[in-house]
Structure formats: structure tokens, C-alpha cells
């Protein structure tokens, strides 16, 4: 029925001959820019990969030798995976990452539930105090944080890395906004049945929030995994090095073995690349969500 009115007759106007030229010119330009830049962006990673599969002896000769050498080998990876250090780094990053995410998501969803659903005196003040937290730039606090962890005798333990990363202010806001948008009917029904707030939170609110919790968990995990500054200064025990701290020592200890160095970089990045490939949507949405709402 809309075929008879003027609007849909005008709709194909975007494709009238006069417009075709400018539209095509635009599309071609867009593709050229995008393809050129994405190739430029892929080169460093591809270069690191190629080097990591080249023999140490060849890669030490420099860029032309790596470019021309096609005797690919997995020697560097075998050396690293047999050497053992990287497994310790993986373990440390994995343990701190998982524990931080678990504790952080627990306390942040609880706080967001209180701020979104429960009426209590001082809620506005609590909200204001947390809003102010968004402005606190984390890395700037490294020195007082070190002093605090020292007083708590936590230096050199995983807790020194975990606990300071548990309060994720932005996650509280993302969760609160999500809870605000949830229909209240389910919770009211549960309350009529006499459920406690904790029960409602656990068996009604949390299950409904699975997607947003998943997205924030992944973003938090990536952040903890990548944090260099905190573990660098507070994990004084070298056996507890996380991936970033371990990688920071590689250049000094491997010296001229550049293939091994590039292979360790790839191995350190690999878990996150896999995580990205599996949870692409959650990663992108989580990052964009925490950025926009922050």
C-alpha cells in the first residue's frame, strides 16, 4: 500500500544516476582507506608472528633475513613451553584474574542492587561518593596503595594484586543502569511469596542480568590480565610474576634470542586473542558500555 505514496517513490532517489557518481567515488575511497590502514595495523602482529617462527640464528641477522627466511620452525615455542617460566606467569595471571573477577562482580552487583532497588537513608550520599570515584585515576595511586598493602602485610601475595582491583566503580554504574531497566514485576511476585532481598537478588535479579555480568566480567578480566603497574611493584616475589611482569623481564634475559622474545609476546597475548574470538560481542559491548557509561 505504500507503493502508491510519494515517500516510497522517492526512496530510490538515492540511486538516481546523478548520485551514482558521488556514491561510488565515496565507496571506493572508503575501501581504499580502510584496507590500507588495516593492512598497516596488521603488519606489526604479522611481523612478530613471522619472527617467532623463524630460527633465532636467522632472526638475529635483522629484518631482511627474517623477510626472506622461509625455513619456519616452532623451536622458540617449544623452548618457552618446556622452559617453565611462562606456565608460572599464566598461572599467576589466571588465578588473580579469575579471583578478582569473581569478587568484583559479587560486590559490584550487590552494591548496584542496593542503589537501584532499595530505599535507605544515605543512598544519595553513597551514590555521590561512588560517582566521585570515577574521577580517581587508578595508576596515580600506586605509591599510597603500596604503603597500604605494606601495612596490611599483603605485599608479595596474590591478594595485593586482587583486592585493589575489586572495586570497579564503572561496573557498579553499568549494573545499576541495567537493574533500573529491569521490570519490577518478578521481584514483586517473589516478595509476595515472602522471599528475602538476598533471595530475590540471587534467584531473580542475577539470572536476568547474565548478559551484562558476562560482558563486565570479560572486560574486568582483560583489565586485570593486562595490568602491569600494580603487580610490577607489589608482587615482590619473582615466583608470582604475572604475564605482563614476566614479559617485561624477557628483553633483558633473552638478549639476542629475538625469535624467543617475539614468541613470548605472542604467547602472552594468545589467551586474550582466543577470549576475543569466542566472546567477540561481549568484549566489544563491554568495552563500549563501560566507556560510554563511565
Amino acid at each position: 500500500m505504500s507503493t502508491s505514496n510519494g515517500i516510497s517513490a522517492a526512496a530510490p532517489a538515492a540511486r538516481i544516476p546523478g548520485e551514482k557518481g558521488s556514491g561510488r567515488g565515496f565507496t571506493v575511497t572508503a575501501w581504499v582507506i580502510l584496507i590500507t590502514l588495516s593492512i598497516l595495523w596488521l603488519i606489526p602482529s604479522l611481523w612478530a608472528m613471522k619472527t617467532s617462527f623463524t630460527d633465532n640464528g636467522v632472526s638475529a641477522l635483522g629484518a631482511p633475513a627474517i623477510l626472506e627466511g622461509w625455513n619456519l620452525t616452532t623451536d622458540s615455542y617449544e623452548t618457552l613451553l618446556r622452559g617453565g617460566d611462562i606456565w608460572n606467569w599464566y598461572l599467576a595471571s589466571f588465578v588473580t584474574g579469575v579471583l578478582t573477577v569473581f569478587l568484583s562482580m559479587l560486590v559490584c552487583t550487590m552494591a548496584a542492587y542496593a542503589l537501584s532497588r532499595l530505599e535507605f537513608k544515605g543512598r544519595r550520599w553513597a551514590m555521590l561518593l561512588i560517582v566521585m570515584g570515577v574521577m580517581i585515576p587508578g595508576n596515580v595511586l600506586i605509591v599510597p596503595l603500596f604503603a597500604l598493602l605494606n601495612q596490611l602485610s599483603l605485599l608479595g601475595t596474590y591478594w595485593a594484586v586482587i583486592l585493589p582491583q575489586v572495586p570497579q566503580v564503572i561496573a557498579v554504574f553499568v549494573f545499576k543502569r541495567f537493574f533500573d531497566g529491569l521490570p519490577k514485576e518478578f521481584e514483586e511476585a517473589a516478595r509476595i511469596d515472602g522471599a528475602s532481598y538476598w533471595r530475590i537478588f540471587r534467584s531473580v535479579v542475577l539470572p536476568l542480568s547474565r548478559p551484562v555480568i558476562a560482558a563486565m566480567s570479560i572486560v574486568t578480566f582483560v583489565g586485570v590480565w593486562n595490568n602491569l603497574m600494580l603487580p610490577l611493584f607489589v608482587l615482590t616475589n619473582p615466583r608470582l610474576m604475572t604475564i605482563p611482569v614476566g614479559l617485561a623481564t624477557v628483553q633483558g634475559s633473552f638478549g639476542q634470542r629475538v625469535s624467543d622474545i617475539q614468541a613470548s609476546s605472542i604467547l602472552g597475548a594468545l589467551p586474550l586473542v582466543i577470549l576475543f574470538l569466542i566472546f567477540q560481542r561481549q568484549v566489544v559491548e563491554g568495552v563500549a558500555g563501560s566507556g560510554l557509561k563511565g
Binding site: A111, V172, L228, I243
Partner: protein, 332 residues
Amino acid sequence: MSTAPTNATGPSVDSRVEGRADATDLDRRRASRDVAIRPGTKHEARAGWMFLLPFAIVYVLFLIWPVIYMFISSMFNTSLVETGLGSFAGFDNYREMLTKEEFWKSLWNTLVFTAFTVPPLVILAFVLAVLANRVRRGQWFFRLAFFVPFILPSAAIALIWNFIFTPGTGLWNSLQSALGNESPSPVLGTPSLAMLGVAVTTVWWTIGFNFVLYLAGLQDIPRELYEAAAVDGASQWQQIKSITIPLLGPTTSLVILLQIIASLKIFDQVYLMTGGGPGLSTQVVLGLVTNTAFTDYRVGAASAASVLLFIVIVVVALLRQAMEWFSARRAD
């Protein structure tokens, strides 16, 4: 609060008199709903605080208290080798920092790094997002190319770029040689180039964040606007100029703010790539802070430098708030 118990018992007594089971049930339900929905606010308030408490503890302990401690210890001769705050220093730590060449040099370098990274990271991310959004195909590929570096550890990125910038035989210098430059300068070893090398690495590493923020912003622009513009004969460029750019204004202002703050906090790349050198040519404020605290053990002086950077960052954030407030008022 005081009405709830009366409601709860009142009707059920009545229904017991009438002896009708279903009415009792209904009344009891209604009664218990009254209790739950308009509960003693005391009960709800207690639940509210209990839910807030775990977060409040870690938040106050690991975010608020360090800020306070930073301000306090900046007024003392606090040291890592002694317990307690140490002797009172007044503003001596600030005076020392504000008269020290290394502080001004590292603040200047931090600002230079910010000036090098913010424009390309904002403009390039905008262009890439708008174009990727327009061509509508190959989105996954562009995300892979532009976004994935952002989620990788800075240490992995630094290993890759240090290797590319290897003096003489690295990829970059070899490329320069191939193009006819007989003796290309080592990027990270030349005072005038080192910060540029760190900036290039940073742009490559973090552009994906802004790219994704812009893509999200683009999705909020209704398609109908473009369709209407196309009907009126607007070309693609005109549509971008008069629809996309103005409507992405809020996103751009947010991206610029987040980017300036992120750049002011630079530490990882400098620590991993140049260690602040050659000389002091790439030393940044957080590098100076950590050296003062963890090499010289002078927590008080390091806290004073942290406070100064903290103030710069908060001022930037407040400036944006003020600008938004003014533009909102002008719009009224």
C-alpha cells in the same frame, strides 16, 4: 511500620470468623504483600546497607583511603625504609618538586605525549569508524585489525615495537635503508625521536577503544536521517558533514576526555620501551613518581608529585563538566 502488623492480623481474624479457607489465603497473601512492599523502612534500609557494605569496604580501603593517604604523606618525610609517616615536612615536598628540573621535564614530556597521541587517536578513530560503518561489510575484519591490539598487554605490545625499532637491523630502520637513507637514526635511542616512537606504539595499541566507542555512537543515529538526506540529494560527504559529525558531538567530547586522561597517566610504554631515556627525554610524571618511591624510597616526595598529576587530571575532568554545563545552558 506500625500499621503493618494490624493489617496482617486484622483481616485473617475476620475470615476465621467466617470460616472460609480461600478468603483466609487471599487475605494472608494481601497482608504479606503489604508487609513486603511497604515494609518497615528499617528492614529495607538494613538490607540496603548490607548489600552496599562489601563494596563500600573495598572502595573506601583501596580507592578513597589511598587518595587521603597520598595527600597526608605528601606533607611528611615518609620513607619506605621506616615505619609511620616520618617527620612533618609542610610544603617542602611540593617546593622540591616545583623547583626540580626533572619534575618540569617529565610534566612537559607527559604533555608532549598527550599532544602527540590525542589528535590521531581521536581523528583516526572517527574516520575509521565512520567509514567502516558506511561500507557495512567486513566489520569483523576491521574489528580484528583495529580493536584486538587494545585488549593485549602493554608488555606484549612493547616487545613487538621494541623489535620493530631495533637500531639498524629492525623493520623500521631497514625500511628506511631500503628507501635510500644510508644511516637511519635509532628511533628509541634518539632524544628527539624517542617520544614519537612511544606515541606511534600507543596509537597502534589503543585506537581500538575509540574506534569501538565511535561505532557504538554511530548506531544511535537513526537511519531515517540519512535516508531523508539522500532523498534531498545530499551526497555521502554532505551527509557525514551535516549529520554524522554534529550528532557524534557528545561521543567526541567523551572520547577526547577519556583520551586526554589516559595519555596523562602514561607509564607502561615508557617503562617498557625507553625507561625514560635517552637521558630524561621520555621521562613522564608517573615514571618520576615510581622512581622517587621505589628507587629512592621517598614516599613523601613521590606523593607530592602524584598529587600534582592528580590535580591536573581532575581539573581536565572538571573542565569538561563545566563545558558541558555551559553548552547545555546555551542550548536552552
